[in-house]
Symmetry: D2
């Protein structure tokens, strides 16, 4: 997490940072205390005291192998009895950390959705505004047949929506299994396994995550998040790639709203947003894949390293996705479109662009006469965008 | 594709092999001819003649950069007019290949589901049979609290179902966009863009894939398949990891049905299935990530290499997933469980396994008294398995 | 391995195919028999009989988990005693397969070096021929300062040589450790450990690989190969990326020797070689990384899946590298350079390209006056190329 | 960079952190100013003033797309003329950042070598001390033939040395190419290209990095670093995997010096160091591969995102490698070895462990009689260790 090593990282703010994680861990411990209290088990515990404790970074995280052990010890030292005694009762470190990470993931997803909405609105407007903006269609870098910039924008829309609608559907479960996924500690406290499972559901409700059986070594909940995140970055990357190509001076059809300068060349107008988005697109498949590698290495009742291997890639991927989504929203909202240049290039390449039409013995006489279903495809994308925006509102 | 380099690969049979791809391509071209014919456009074309043509490997695939160009040329040479003239009308190579690959993916998914069903039934039976088989719960390699082997099997079930239920939900779309995703060629042939889109839907129905707008550069359909496949392998890997640990002679709680031999040591009983499944689990994140890298590199109306980068990793991943799922089904169906050894180890570790219980000041007196919600968790997994099997039947 | 899924794959010929592996395995077993024979141990064995046996695909590879067990059994059945009795004496499967894979890697490296030489000669000639061909320097897609196409070619040279000179230095060791890396079986046969190690060195000499202690679970020899291979593809990719950008019709400075056609558009001149090279560049990091994942998962005296996970990615990566190197050699040898277009574009962008010069208050008046050290950098690259070609000859 | 998300990260201290990068960037700018000054070009500039400026974080890094632009602007604002005027003269952002990152990499490599030396000494001592400690050799998880724990340690040594000796050989070049790799700006300032190249060499000497032609888009220098780093982690991972297996209570041959506790189970002795090392081993292939993906996406005279994609993975990989190396040194230095347990297990498995020997009709009567070349292999590893330690001292 560094603006120097990842320019734009500041857009991700506090998401998944140390304080955010500690706050989420506090929230989980507080919620659990409340659940125990409300169930009549920990009647003498006071969750509000815990909730009000200022967040404190645990000491010697490495000694425990995870941040929860020292964190809980730190909380316990600062809590009065009997609340201190009830703290973390029946939980294992992984319960707290997995649930906290899912809370962090939800916050990241929320910001991603806000930027997705901005992207969708901007791409939708581009699609509508440019449904008549004829341009050269390019395939394998070469001129193919005519299309419109409206369809380009509609295709971007499809990419965004494919990715974001998947993300929306990803379930984010709470974790509660106790030392080895049996809930034995909880059951011991509340009387039996059935009551323990009821408390697990109550915890889910309290933190606002999905109910779940323990998933200490069934890591699809984590890989689902990762897969959905990288797909968002993929969609951003594809947009940036188009902008990078089309903002080359020899093409000049698109330009960034606020190009970047150079340390030595005063005239330079670098497409910096696109460059940074493309950077994310090149990188994101790797932390996402690391989550699968970790999932595939799970073993026993709780894994010997595979679990620990998830936290950093998940954080990196989530933050990079947030940044890329935000940058792409800015890019789309401010994109400068040179329809004259598009038309001029397409007109100059008229013979090539209409070669297929001639091969089909078709009588269309100009570029605008060989646009196929572009308008209908744009309309379909716009409709989908409108549904998304309405549903998201 | 080689039994030598990937032992067990034969389990994937002809899935995604050259003939399967060519057959799928033939099916797409035939379906499209039929759609054109049935729409009254290509009335004089005879799809049955095309369908009956023996599959022929195209010449000089490299020259075109993809297998479709030479394939279509080869078909056209062997077809009589006017059928030859209508062949591939309005399509682009990517329409045919993307749709054909989705057909291949569907075939792979079908076999995966068949093996998933076998896995689910076997794991379900293990969960039920061993709900009372007490064993040591192991976390970070060390003894934690008691659990049952039934819960281990139930957790395996959860992993399988999480992965496979995702795979079932992945939409497999047909592709139809023409040269640059505008359907201009089709529209030229059938009159207008609206009619062209209707034919696209008809093609989807004809090949049995999902309807879709063109996705030449919106590659979520491909990454969704990849993500779902690697998640299946992850789930298999986690099972194999458990078997590998627990079939170590010092633990000896599990054994493979038919262990492998050694080229030099007659006594060796190698857990070969688990070894090969684990191999797949180590490998699969990489081709899956390659699909995201390709998706993120999409550009223009059709990409300049990113599309071509998908075919081989998709095939490798699909076949490796099929093999791993089949091997895992065999592993689960034949798994040898030594409940006496489980109990002996757990009993010998009684003091450690009950340490948490004592810390909770709980009065349970033996291992079986500190099993928490294991039975209920098993029951929940079994219910889910039963729903899956019923729904899948 | 499929021309359909990886167009151009035929360029890799039989490298790392099943027959090549079996031939290499036969070579290892034969060499070992000869070593035993020449050491006076297996005096009655006849290595020539073994060498003359036609290669036979082993049955039931999966049952053993690797191809060696069935392979050795098959050989033994077809050999007369006492040769059959001496076959594979003291070896373990991994000895044979690791050594055979290194032989296959050497064959792949040889072909890579042949194509590297072609690349170097072609790029060298481009660098020399175009040392005066002024073009726009492009950074972050935008015009920066003037450069020459000669320097572009010189930079390509640097990339190729950096990669290939690394590959040349990678040691390819033979493997000989016996069942658990102790050479106990060999020592039992030849008398003691010292004699066993001498035979190991003799085996290295016999197969022409580097001497080594057993590396059953120290897998740097494999990851070194993978790292060097992917670096070759990286270098190819960078060249292809440049050709793809500069062969866009709006830029038009470069063209492929034999562009590909389209299934529908007769005018299309697709830069197919570059597309296919770029495809490899997008893909290659993944199998290379899979080798590291496997190396990192090594355990015990021989691993439980990590070893098995190497074979397929190594083969894929090696073959893809061979193909990319060959395609890149073709690309460079036939590259069409439009120096007029380069100059016209640079001249039209003169003001921008000289903006830095003006900012430096420098008095150069034209593009050719602001080329810095381009000629000297070209000369340095050419010198390095000449050394490589001489050394390699 | 977070102790919470990557327990043990504090071991990497300030390596590659923001301040370290800014200090390295300052060092590069200062060195360049000194080179210009000493060459008689910037006689009136005062490098010492620059060197004495406190490090300042640049504003608005994202606007420039990299941290150098704002950094240089910030320095210039705080420097007096004429030093301010000479600052960064002739350089481009990438010159400064690439060189600074190589300086950071060198610092990381230095710490890695210090810990490698600790590892080598510790593993060497284990190899020597336990050359007679008989244990069961394990292959594919099963008992194979006898070996000694000394040979295990010797194999660990081999793995460490293979990795670290490669790292030592990786050249770390300075970068100097100017706006588009032509050194035109430098040449304009110092008179001609030849003089410019001399200054480049002088810069290399001044910062203590290797001389090099510009490598703005030839990224092997970066991937070499990444490949060498991940290989170090691979070697650590292999050691940790062995410790994790052998510290399972059912095996109990090894134990960590200071096992970690549990948040709920007072008896737990988790092998936390090994868990955290294994975590790194699962993860490291991914950032290393991201560097290859970036290298393969290089284009033009400076890339449009691929360069930017390197910084974060390089930093992550370097820091994770430093942490893993340090943890592995601790692990080896404090490793608890239970030779009695080793012998007891091996003795109990005597029949299996000697099965190969019997198959070879060999007359060895006990485990210690079937150890092959273990002593000699240990001696060879120890000799290599001694050479390394001497050379490194």
């Amino acid at each position: 997490m560094s603006e120097l090593f990842w320019p734009g990282e500041a857009r991700a703010g506090a998401l998944f940072d140390d304080d955010a994680l500690l706050a989420a861990m506090t929230r989980v411990e507080t919620a659990w205390l409340r659940v125990l209290h409300d169930a009549g088990v920990a009647r003498d515990a006071d969750p509000d005291v815990l909730a009000a404790l200022p967040v404190q970074t645990p000491d010697d995280v490495e000694a425990g192998g995870n941040p929860v052990i020292g964190f809980v010890a730190g909380l316990r030292n600062r809590l009065p009895d009997p609340t201190a005694r009830w703290l973390h009762k029946g939980l294992t470190s992984q319960d707290v950390l997995d649930t906290a990470l899912m809370l962090c993931a939800r916050d990241a997803a929320d910001q991603i959705l806000r930027d997705a909405r901005r992207q969708v609105l901007a791409a939708r407007d581009l699609a509508v505004a440019h449904r008549g903006s004829v341009q050269a269609g390019r395939t394998l870098t070469q001129h193919a047949v005519p299309t419109t910039f409206g369809l380009t924008a509609a295709n971007w829309l499809t990419g965004i929506l494919d990715a974001v609608e998947d993300l929306v559907r990803v379930p984010l479960p709470m974790q509660l299994g106790g030392a080895a996924g049996t809930l034995a500690g909880v059951a011991a406290v509340v009387g039996d396994g059935g009551a323990a499972l009821e408390l697990a559901d109550a915890l889910a409700a309290e933190v606002g995550l999905a109910e779940s059986v323990p998933w200490h070594t069934s890591r699809r909940p984590v890989t689902r998040v990762g897969d959905a995140l990288v797909a968002c970055v993929d969609a951003c990357g594809r947009i940036a790639n188009d902008v990078l190509v089309r903002s080359r001076p020899e093409i000049g059809e698109l330009a960034e709203p606020t190009p970047g300068g150079s340390s030595t060349m005063p005239h330079k107008h670098n497409p910096v947003l696109s460059v940074l988005i493309r950077r994310a697109a090149i990188s994101a498949p790797f932390p996402a894949a690391a989550l699968h590698a970790a999932a595939a290495a799970a073993v026993d009742e709780r894994p010997d390293g595979a679990w620990h291997a998830e936290w950093d890639p998940l954080r990196t991927l989530a933050r990079h996705t947030v940044v890329a989504m935000s940058q792409t929203a800015d890019l789309l909202e401010g994109l400068v479109v040179d329809v004259d240049r598009m038309l001029a290039t397409a007109s100059a390449a008229r013979a090539d662009l209409l070669a297929e039409q001639h091969a089909l013995a078709n009588e269309g006489r100009d570029l605008a006469g060989y646009l196929g279903a572009t308008d209908l495809l744009i309309a379909a994308a716009v409709q989908r965008a409108d549904r998304f925006v309405k549903g998201d509102a």
